[in-house]
Subunit: 148 residues, 2 copies
DNA sequence: GTTCCTGCAAAGAGTTTGCAGTTCT
DNA sequence: AGAACTGCAAACTCTTTGCAGGAAC
């Protein structure tokens, strides 16, 4: 019993704004929702084409831009440790950090209450109305440390 | 009495590594050291050409890459709120946060002990050897808030 | 004098856009 | 029916590279 993409949080969010759920977008949303990694546009295009050969690069970029604009995905660049493409992930409620290994390229996520603390402190001390934050750390992972 | 660029921290750091201080690099280093803003490559090129018309784009990119490699400048992208160019700033000892106003594009820096706390926590809890961190916050500044 | 660095020009990655036709609601 | 969306192809922005000559140490 496969989950219908039309019932996902993303899709209903979009439906409410009069945004059409096309065949191509169904494929893309499904991939993004089930992705374990941080995809970039070319990953997404490749995966999408496994389902539908005709999906175009432009559609992928336009869909990502649309999702970003509606606050459903977040753009990362992971410190450009792996080329200069942008990576995308579902926007979650809790703020988290991306830790990128400079040697092997592995990216792990880390949750901490300090992110919220930081945002609160900025809000209080600077008067800026904080919308979102992006925290990326360049490091060397334990596995690579052992090999050094 | 103008400060000699050869005595700057950056220049002596480079001299120690056998890196040549060319006419072009003197101009670029001086601009970067005195910059109040976060420059991007095209800013830097434009400013450099006011001093020396013949400086080439490629030299600017190569110099920035060299400085980054030697840990003298840091690359930022400021959440791509203002196009997709990379911004650069002198690498300071203390970690700081960049807060970017989504309306007017203004970028302010904010220092807090929480950055160090965060890095320490990541080190302890994940076993990653933290090298550097980049924290960027999208927000609306007080001035723009008033106008809303 | 040798090695490193430069300008030039061309290529490369990643992304965006205009347009004519198609699909969604 | 009408607006929104798509594929295609071309354009565009930012950045990198090969090469032959020039400058720093």
């Amino acid at each position: 019993m496969k989950k219908d993409i039309r019932q996902s949080a993303m899709a209903s969010e979009l439906a409410g704004k009069g945004i059409r759920l096309t065949r191509q977008r169904k494929v893309l949303l499904e991939i993004i929702e089930n992705a374990s990694d941080h995809l970039h546009a070319s990953d997404l295009l490749r995966l999408a084409r496994e389902h539908d050969q005709s999906i175009d690069r432009a559609t992928v970029y336009r869909t990502l831009a649309m999702l970003k604009e509606h606050g459903l995905v977040e753009e990362l660049d992971l410190l450009h440790l792996d080329g200069s493409e942008h990576h995308y992930e579902l926007k979650g409620s809790r703020g988290h950090i991306h830790i990128c290994c400079k040697k092997c390229g592995r990216v792990v996520e880390y949750d901490t209450e300090l992110v919220t603390r930081l945002e609160d402190e900025v809000r209080e001390r600077t008067g800026f109305d904080v919308d979102s934050s992006r925290i990326e750390i360049a490091a060397v992972c334990p596995v690579c440390l052992d090999q050094a």
